[in-house]
C-alpha cells in the first residue's frame, strides 16, 4: 500500500522571543491553529509526530512525544518525538508521511517546537554544538558558525564567491520577512550593514547568522483521497526524501557542497517527477547565509559555484525566476531549531494556497522545502504541490 498524502491544515506561532510562552503554550498554539485550519476535532487524530532538537538542554524537559499528546489534551493518542538537530521537524514530516502512506493512519499531526531563549549565556551555543561531532570537532573549539565559516572560506576560494554576494542573502531575506507577520525580524538591512556587523567566525558576521528563537509549527496530514472532505485547496506531498552524511564536516571530500542535499533532492525529483525548472519557489536552510548559496547550487537551481552570482542577479528575490525564502528564511523569520522544518512546510502551503499576502509568489504551483541538520549530516527535502500528479 502506498497512498498519496495531503496537507489539510497548518498552524504556527510567531517566531521570536516569547517571554510569556513556554513549551506548552507554543505547542498548543500551533497545534490548535492547525486543527482549526483543517476543521477537524481531537477525536479524528490518530498519531502525533513532533520534532524537538534539544528540549533537554534548553528547558530540561525530555520525553517530548508524550508531552505533545498531553499538552494537546489528546491522550491516549500515540506520539513520536523525532530528533535530527535543526532538521528535527522535517523528519517528523517524513515520518508522518510514511505513517499515512502506509495505510496505518488516516489523520496525523506533525510539527515541531523549540524554546531556546530561556537559557543564559552561551548555553544555547553549547546545546547547538551537540549537532556536530562532539569529540572531533567541538572538542577543539569549533562552533556552529565556525563550521559554516569553513564552508564559506572554501567556497570563496574555489569559486570566487564574494563577501558581498554572501551578504545579499541576508539582505533579501530580511526584505521578504517585512511581509511575514510571523517573522522574528521586521527590519530591512543593507549589504553594508552586514559587512559592518561584528565578526563571529571569519568570514561570517553577526548578520550572516540566523537568530535563536522560540516557536512551534504544525500540519495535519491525511490520505489524498480524503483531502477534499476537509478543504477545497489540499496541498499534496509529491516528494518526501531524507538523506544522511558524516556527522563531521571535515571527513567529507568537498565542503563546498552538501552531499546529503544532493542525495535527498535527486530522490525527491525522482519521486515527484518534477524537474528543477518546475519548482516555482523554495524555502531553503539559510542557518548561515553561505548555506543558501550552497543549497541553491545543490538543489539544481544553478550550476556549482554559481550560487553567489544567482543571488546577485536578483533571480532569487520574489518576482525572480526562482524565489528563495519568501518567508524570510531562517535568517529573518527566525530559527527555533526543532520547529524550523515544519514552519518551512507551513510557508509552502500558505504560498500554494495563495494566502501569503505581501510576500506571495504569484501563480506558484510547486514549492520545495530544504531542511538541514548539523552541517548537512541530515538533509530533508519535501516537494509540495497544488496538483496531486
Amino acid at each position: 500500500m502506498n497512498r498519496d498524502v495531503a496537507i489539510v491544515g497548518v498552524g504556527m506561532t510567531k517566531f521570536g522571543e516569547h517571554w510569556k510562552k513556554g513549551l506548552k503554550e507554543l505547542i498548543t498554539e500551533a497545534g490548535v491553529k492547525a486543527v482549526e485550519d483543517a476543521g477537524i476535532s481531537g477525536k479524528d487524530i490518530q498519531l502525533i509526530v513532533g520534532g524537538s532538537m534539544s528540549s533537554g538542554m534548553f528547558v530540561g524537559q525530555e520525553h517530548t512525544g508524550a508531552l505533545f499528546t498531553d499538552y494537546l489534551g489528546l491522550s491516549p493518542v500515540p506520539a513520536i518525538r523525532t530528533e535530527a538537530a535543526c532538521a528535527s521537524s522535517s523528519v517528523a514530516l517524513t515520518t508522518g508521511t510514511m505513517a499515512v502512506q502506509s495505510g496505518r493512519y488516516d489523520c496525523v499531526v506533525v510539527g515541531g517546537v523549540e524554546k531556546m531563549t530561556d537559557v543564559y549565556g552561551n548555553l544555547a551555543t553549547t546545546a547547538l554544538a551537540g549537532a556536530m561531532d562532539r569529540d572531533n570537532e567541538a572538542h577543539f573549539g569549533l562552533t556552529f558558525p565556525g563550521v559554516y565559516a569553513l564552508m564559506a572560506q572554501r567556497h570563496m576560494h574555489q569559486y570566487g564567491t564574494t563577501r558581498e554576494q554572501i551578504a545579499m542573502v541576508a539582505v533579501k531575506n530580511h526584505e521578504n520577512a517585512m511581509h511575514n507577520p510571523n517573522a522574528q525580524f521586521h527590519r530591512k538591512i543593507c549589504v553594508e550593514s552586514v559587512l559592518k556587523s561584528a565578526l563571529v567566525s571569519d568570514p561570517l558576521r553577526l548578520l550572516d547568522c540566523s537568530p535563536i528563537a522560540d516557536g512551534a509549527a504544525a500540519l495535519i496530514l491525511v490520505p489524498a483521497e480524503h483531502a477534499k472532505k476537509y478543504t477545497d485547496t489540499p496541498i499534496y506531498i509529491r516528494a518526501s526524501s531524507q538523506a544522511s552524511d558524516t556527522l563531521s564536516l571535515y571527513m567529507r571530500p568537498d565542503i563546498t557542497t552538501v552531499g546529503a542535499t544532493i542525495s535527498a533532492v535527486q530522490n525527491a525529483y525522482k519521486q515527484s517527477g518534477l524537474k528543477p525548472e518546475d519548482i516555482h519557489f523554495a524555502e531553503v536552510h539559510d542557518c548561515f547565509t553561505i548555506n543558501e548559496i550552497i543549497a541553491s547550487e545543490d538543489l539544481g537551481f544553478c550550476k556549482k559555484g554559481e550560487g553567489g552570482r544567482l543571488v546577485q542577479s536578483g533571480e532569487t528575490a520574489i518576482g525572480g525566476k526562482i524565489p528563495i525564502n519568501p518567508s524570510g528564511g531562517l535568517k529573518a523569520k527566525g530559527h527555533p531549531v526543532g520547529a524550523t522544518g515544519a514552519a518551512q512546510a507551513v510557508e509552502i502551503v500558505e504560498q500554494l494556497r495563495g494566502e501569503a499576502g505581501g510576500r506571495q509568489v504569484k501563480g506558484a504551483e510547486n514549492g520545495l522545502a530544504h531542511n538541514v541538520g548539523g552541517s548537512g549530516s541530515t538533509v530533508v527535502v519535501h516537494m509540495l504541490s497544488r496538483n496531486r500528479k
Binding site: M57, N122, L123, T125, T126, A127, A129, R134, D135, N136, E137, A138, H139, F140, G141, L142, T143, P145, G146, A149, L150, M151, Q153, R154, H157, A198, L199, V200, S201, D202, P203, L204, T246, S248, L249, Y250, M251, I255
Partner: protein
C-alpha cells in the same frame, strides 16, 4: 556544565589525541581520523590498522573563532582549521604560533602538543594536538 565528561571519556581518547593516531585501511589504501574498527569505504570488508600520522599537512580551510563556546573564552580569537594530512586524512584542529591573518588555504603546517582547555568544575585539564606553521 552539561558538556563535562567523566575522566574515562577523555582517557579512552588519549592515544588519538596525544599521538595523532588514526586508522589505515589496507584494502582501499585510505587513511582516516579518528580510529575506527570498520573502514568508511569498505565497511566490514576493510582491513583496518592503527596508523600514527606523520603530523605534517596543509590547511584545507580555516576560520577565526571570535565568539567562543564554553571553556574556550580565554583563547578567543583563535584559528580553527581543517588540516589535510600528507597521508590524505583530514582533522580539525587549532592553528597556533601565528597571527590569524597569516593563515591561508594551502599553508604547510605541522603538529604540536598543547593544552586544549580546562573542563568545567572538575578542572580537568585536557591536552591534545594543535598545528603550527612549518617555518
Amino acid at each position: 556544565m552539561t558538556t563535562e565528561k567523566a575522566v574515562a571519556h577523555h582517557w579512552r581518547k588519549f592515544k588519538e589525541r596525544y599521538g595523532l593516531v588514526g586508522s589505515k585501511c589496507d584494502s582501499c589504501n585510505s587513511y582516516f581520523f579518528p580510529t575506527s574498527t570498520i573502514c568508511p569505504k569498505c565497511r566490514r570488508k576493510g582491513n583496518v590498522k592503527e596508523h600514527s600520522f606523520s603530523g605534517k599537512g596543509k590547511v584545507f580551510s580555516h576560520t577565526t573563532i571570535r565568539v567562543a563556546p564554553e571553556g574556550f573564552e580565554a583563547y578567543a580569537p583563535y584559528v580553527i582549521a581543517i588540516i589535510e594530512l600528507d597521508e590524505g586524512a583530514k582533522v580539525v584542529s587549532q592553528v597556533v604560533d601565528c597571527k590569524p591573518e597569516d593563515v591561508k588555504i594551502g599553508m604547510p603546517v605541522e603538529v604540536c602538543f598543547r593544552k586544549i582547555r580546562e573542563e568545567g568544575k572538575s578542572g580537568l585539564v585536557l591536552y591534545g594536538f594543535k598545528f603550527k606553521p612549518v617555518l
